[in-house]
Symmetry: C2
Subunit: 228 residues, 2 copies
């Protein structure tokens, strides 16, 4: 009898131990803090060839004079943008950088849904890429209410936020001190998705059918000391 009891106790102990190990493993897996993608890029970026980023699956020899195979802040930024597989929502004050324009056009040619929201005044300055995007068929809307639509953010696939001080210009990338945050943290991504949607709907041209220049009058009188 006592031998049987001993066997039962040992058996129960083994079962309890294995269940405990299972439980601890499950808890560790479920409760371990997940690493959210968070990256900060600083500019000006070093200059390097970025041609290979546009066609990583079929790399071609490039004979441009820039260094090759060098990872820079700008190449990281380009990779983030080009990672879009379904959508890119872009909300940017000034857009004149031709490499970034090429990235947006590349995504568009791949069937990615692109929405661009920009400042009305800066959409028309010399060197802007907004006209190039429009001609390609990309949907662009201009802010009609504020003094400046001064955002510089984009959201990739409703998942990845790219935001900071960097306008999409050549000077910003190559010459200015700038920062860009790249994050998948939902606490940060969600408000930007919501804000984009709000601004996109608010600046629907159908809401302003009879105005050729719906910018408020106070924009022209903004003191120059308060440049954006």
């Amino acid at each position: 009898m006592s031998v049987m009891w001993t066997v039962k106790v040992v058996g129960l102990g083994v079962v309890a131990l294995s269940l405990s190990v299972e439980l601890v493993g499950w808890l560790l897996h479920r409760l371990r803090p997940k690493r959210t993608r968070n990256e900060v890029l600083f500019f000006p970026s070093k200059m390097a060839c970025i041609n290979h980023i546009f066609a990583p699956s079929s790399p071609q020899l490039c004979f441009c004079p820039l260094p090759h195979g060098v990872e820079t802040s700008f190449s990281r930024l380009l990779r983030c943008i080009l990672s879009a597989s379904s959508s890119l929502d872009l909300c940017v004050f000034s857009f004149s950088n031709m490499d970034l324009s090429r990235a947006v056009l590349t995504l568009y040619s791949r069937g990615v849904t692109i929405r661009v929201l920009t400042d009305k005044d800066y959409a028309a300055i010399t060197g802007t890429q907004i006209g190039v995007l429009r001609k390609a068929g990309i949907c662009v809307r201009c802010d009609v209410d504020s003094v400046y639509m001064h955002h510089k953010f984009s959201v990739v696939d409703n998942r990845l936020l790219i935001t900071g001080s960097l306008n999409w210009t050549r000077t910003a990338v190559q010459s200015n001190m700038e920062n860009v945050i790249v994050t998948e943290d939902p606490d940060l991504v969600r408000p930007f998705i919501k804000e984009f949607q709000k601004l996109w709907l608010h600046n629907d041209p159908a809401r302003y059918p009879y105005s050729s220049d719906p910018k408020p009058a106070h924009k022209a009188t903004t003191p120059r000391t308060d440049k954006p």
Copy 2:
């Protein structure tokens, strides 16, 4: 004998159960993802009285015509800045907002260590608060290398990062579409602390003792299409 065994088994079972509960509780406590402070503020901000934020412990009656007791993006921003208890590192392109200047001066009067890094050209424009801060004794350095020192970030107590598209100007706060991220996520805060330290040391006036205007010549020739 069998009764003794039963008692022993039940006793062991109770001990094992209580230990398991303890272990599960400990694991839950240790492994639960910690809530990192993450907040996004959008501008333009509604206008509201902010006087009570500067002296929360001794609120005084205010008869200004603005709405009172209203929480806005700007009041949230002010509270974040005024939460500094030991240091405020500020790296901003344009600084002309008098309420934000008041906040920095308030912190300085409380003994908080303030370091301000700004763009050389924008430090001298009409309406700038940089001269006011300098006169008060706050240490200000100007960027000497880049075309524009275009950052708009600050770090409170080496712990809280405030960054975005918002320059510290009246127009940015009241009239522009802008965003500000407030975060304690170390993955985001640490790179900005490091970048500030790098820029602060790099722009030490002692490194440029003989130059009255050490800005690079190319700054003046930057094409206007690439405004920051």
